[in-house]
Symmetry: C2
Subunit: 149 residues, 2 copies
Amino acid sequence: MTGTARVDTARLMELLSVSLGAYYGDFTVAAASENLTASQGKALTVLRRGPAAMRALANTLTCDASNMTGIVDRLEKRGLVRREPNPCDRRIKNVLLTPEGERVADAIRAKMRTTQEGLDRLSDEERDSLHTLLETVFVPRPGTCGDDV
Amino acid sequence: MTGTARVDTARLMELLSVSLGAYYGDFTVAAASENLTASQGKALTVLRRGPAAMRALANTLTCDASNMTGIVDRLEKRGLVRREPNPCDRRIKNVLLTPEGERVADAIRAKMRTTQEGLDRLSDEERDSLHTLLETVFVPRPGTCGDDV
DNA sequence: TATTGTTATACTCTATAACTATA
DNA sequence: TATAGTTATAGAGTATAACAATA
């Protein structure tokens, strides 16, 4: 069998680009339906995994630390997050979701119908396979660097 | 064997969020190294697949049509794209990459080292599998709608 | 001396609404 | 009447540089 035609890196990168575009579009529409910008929605999504310092949040969102002040200010004004001083290092402020923030973060994910319907096309085995592959490609293995970036 | 533990949708969505966040970060840094914003870089990447009308470009980038004017203006001012009237419908302007625009688009992709190194961890069979799975999830099957949106 | 978060600034992105030209 | 692209506007995102508080 010549079942496995080599898929070159350029083609995979191109497909990742298309996939990201589709996912990001779905996400942007879902966030907008909650009256949130894409950046605000992304911040909520990241914080859904747990509290984070301002700077760690900026690193995860790939933006300068100075941007986080305004983004968190607006989320805090709407009661979706709050700042909390870190007793171990008084320079640091941890940001965490309020219950309302958790509700909105979950609502955004629930509204991403296009992506969910795409995942629904996969069998259990395929879902397991996709999970493993994405982890291999995108989740850095411990041993490289345990902290932020 | 209980080899296949069910991977639920929420977990896959979470992993997609992390994976595409990593891809987006890699892309943003690569675009910045060419003195381009993420939106400008995205426009170049989309146009690398071929010319597109202003409105189709806006739809692909999930932004309002009015935004494309400024984005394309700046890219045109730098000689990376140019507008071309559509002879069939004089309302439409097609946007296409200049040779320099093609060079920059390729340079951005080449600089996405983190993503490429992630893909390098996969065997040929795994690359083929990832390709198939991403297409299944994110590339709409013909029969739904052939046009833009 | 280095780091965290903030502020000030300038530029870019974004959606909304209104406009022109064309279909 | 509807659509493609543009313009004007206001709010949000973005990087840079400079700052105060803390380590």
